[in-house]
Symmetry: C2
Subunit: 481 residues, 2 copies
């Protein structure tokens, strides 16, 4: 056996001093980069020649770490997705925060696996779940698990609801002839039908309940659709209330949905991807009334709560059902009463992941650093800036607001100056991004292509909203001249 090294250091450096020095430099450089974001274009397209530079065969030998960092600075850093930037207004993206950044330094080197076992990270995650339940008003016994994001959190909720409807056998026997149907507003997020697709139920089983002019689910339509499906021999099992639609920020009447769900024996799930975070604001909490009656809630800490990506969360009111949806008995993963294999239930008994980084630390540190009042401040400021933006739009004769502003999302368009307004507004959004002025996204509201500004970055102020409108007006007048 003399070819076996009795001592070797694996991948670790003999001396950590260079690694330390480079780490310190990276941290300083990245904070400089972050602190100067306002002075940069919000987005720059990565040039094709730099894309091409990435495309090399997998390296056989190693390269000094400092050179790799230079590659990062040259090829990657200038071409971010702009989440850090105060004038990023597209889609739904949080801006990150210092407590979360610092937590990730700890998490990386701590490098625990949070699939299970008896260690502190599991306890921290349990505490974060307890805090999340407290924030939205679910009872103390609530179980939950951190995931990548609300797509997975909604998927977990669908699986628990499926298990609740069909019993243990669905796990072993599959769906069989069960003709399940689910309900959500027509403004619900696309990850809801996708969860039904992945779960084998099929996305057509999701009945899209019409939304009213306020983009909230029509309650009488919900009642009618459930009754009609039941009369047709189908099996309604789930209703999803949306707390903050992605298009307009509308919040369904969660209390009314809870009542209908209770009456009809449906699982009541709330997709609160970003909107559930508004529960920490006394000003906006009333809009979410009824969320505390939910059987399950999905939301993200990386959106309005500004935790760095990724940190989704699902909460389930019924611990036993939750565990029975995911727990398995496996020889090599047996729980023990003592030792490292103790401390059930494990997160892998509550969700689909067995390999899981320590997401909970960045959430725990963010909530400790700012408290719910700090997060409420971010929520309220975002909504204030949205209100400011909507008022500015109302004052501009060429602009048109396309939906009421419930929270922090403003959908509008240039309403004159071209025959094809959809093409005009699309082009304006692309040009805003390409010129680096601001980065709204687009959506479609009642067939009209909307410029969609979502105020999720905690660095965004009213001046940024003005910069957006000034940019829109300049581009529309140059396009329509």
């Amino acid at each position: 056996m003399n070819d076996i090294p009795l001592h070797q250091t694996g991948l670790d450096p003999e001396d950590w001093s260079q690694t330390r020095a480079l780490g310190h430099r990276m941290l300083d450089d990245m904070i400089d980069w972050l602190a100067s974001s306002r002075d940069r274009p919000v987005w720059q397209r990565m040039p094709d020649e730099k894309r091409a530079e990435l495309r090399v065969p997998v390296p056989a030998g190693g390269q000094p770490m400092a050179e790799i960092y230079e590659d990062f600075r040259r090829l990657v850093l200038p071409y971010s997705s702009a989440n850090e930037h105060p004038r990023m207004m597209g889609w739904v993206n949080g801006g990150g925060n210092a407590a979360g950044y610092l937590a990730e330094i700890l998490t990386a080197i701590f490098n625990v696996n949070c699939g299970g076992r008896d260690h502190a990270a599991i306890e921290v995650e349990r505490q974060v779940i307890a805090w999340a339940a407290e924030m939205v008003g679910l009872p103390p016994q609530t179980t939950g698990v951190l995931l990548t994001g609300s797509s997975m959190a909604n998927m977990v909720a669908v699986l628990v609801a499926r298990r609740a409807a069909l019993g243990e056998e669905v796990r072993t026997q599959g769906l069989g002839a069960a003709r399940l149907t689910a309900y959500a507003s027509s403004a619900a997020h696309g990850c809801i039908p996708r969860a039904l697709d992945m779960a084998g139920i099929g996305s057509d089983a999701l009945r899209l309940v019409p939304a009213g002019p306020d983009y909230r689910m029509d309650m009488s339509a919900l009642r009618t659709m459930v009754a009609a499906d039941r009369a047709a021999g189908l099996r309604p099992f789930l209703v999803v209330g949306t707390a903050g639609t992605v298009d307009t920020g509308a919040i369904d009447d969660l209390g009314a949905i809870a009542g209908i769900a209770r009456g009809a024996g449906l699982w009541f799930h709330v997709d609160g991807a970003f909107g559930a975070t508004a529960a920490v604001s006394p000003r906006f909490r009333p809009l979410l009334a009824g969320i505390e009656e939910a059987d399950s809630v999905a939301f993200d800490f990386h959106k309005w709560a500004q935790v760095p990506y990724d940190a989704g969360c699902v909460l389930v009111r019924h611990p036993d059902l939750h565990i029975r949806t995911f727990a398995q008995s496996l020889a090599y993963l047996t729980h023990a009463e003592r030792g490292l294999a103790g401390n059930p239930p494990w997160p892998r008994d509550l969700g689909p992941d067995l390999s899981r980084e320590f997401r909970a630390l960045k959430v725990w540190m963010t909530l400790k650093a700012y408290g719910t009042q700090g997060i409420a401040g971010v929520v309220e400021t975002g909504c204030d800036v949205a209100r400011y933006l909507a008022a500015r739009i109302a004052r501009e004769p060429t602009l048109e607001l396309l939906a009421p502003v419930t929270l922090n999302i403003v959908c509008f368009r240039v309403a004159s100056g071209a025959q094809d307004l959809n093409a005009l507004n699309h082009e304006i959004v692309v040009r805003l991004q390409e010129t680096g002025i601001a980065a709204p996204s687009t959506t479609t509201i009642d067939g009209k292509l909307a410029i969609r500004a979502a105020l999720f970055n905690h660095r965004t102020v009213c001046a940024d909203a003005d910069a957006l409108i000034d940019g829109v007006l300049a581009l529309s007048s140059s396009r329509t001249k």
Copy 2:
């Protein structure tokens, strides 16, 4: 509107100097902690009073960051899951590496969302996927996506295989009357039946093909079972080859499975959670012959390749089928030809996640820092230490090796000195953990409870293997006196 702040800094500090200083301190402290791991007990149970200290209501106000860090040092750091430790030998856990740690500093502050859009992180992920395909021998057109881990990667593969078997309609219509069956060795990982469970097919649809005395799938049994199911009117659609079983490290005859899959029209998926990484070693590559014929491969970069948690990967040979399993058409997520919404397909068209942190950077930096030769060195050393451990066990009269050592996993037990050997060996493992000597885990091999030592940490040397055996012998003699 004069209640709206025109300027505010959100959650960012006015002055970053304290954050910088604390970050530098954290980085230095964590490297000190890592570099001294060998001198610590491998695991310490978190005391109940410290668990209790975590259990406070969600904070309303904030707390200084330095205090939060003290809480981390006191309540969390001493109670890790031990992945960093050279004598962590339980389950399947990589040890992390410096390039990955540094990458996470960059990732945290960069804070991009990798669900999609046109930015550099997406390009880096594509390159990492190309490297992964190259490492296992899949063709250049291979698509893939990074995920939390192999549980999700195997789930994605099951969904693509389901889509391949049933066509587009399965996404909208659900499984209906399709009576799908899948096949894997009886030694396959529990996430395979769980993926079938989540996908609505049901875990009973997974036929567990008997394994031979070498713990590899019995090929003639596979043929017989597929034929019998087909004759019974069922619809065989998927066969999963395991490259490195979790119990013993056995590798199925992937070339033979590929041939049977081709002949029977089955999707050929390889679960190579840890074993696929051995493809970078010229010494072990021949054991994986046939993996290059797979329709899909799942594996983790955070296991044998030592990337910090979490970094799973799925590769799919058929880009079109892969995209057609996940892509959706959604108004607010429309791809554009130019601007930030350009550059399809997006990762969210290839997997279930829309919110995704920049996992690719830590993989990219790890592969650049050490090259495939560096990773191959880790693989080969782990297997050498396992061979050394097995030889030591063979020399000890009271110990018994319970399975052949294919790669880096050694299953053995104390074979005398108690009537209930299962209870004895279980107690020895718990005591090894509680005393902090070493942290193997347990599994069951042919009804016998095994002490399972898996040599995944790149810091582990033969002296650590000796410490394990010395500890086992000392505990067994004290128990059996």
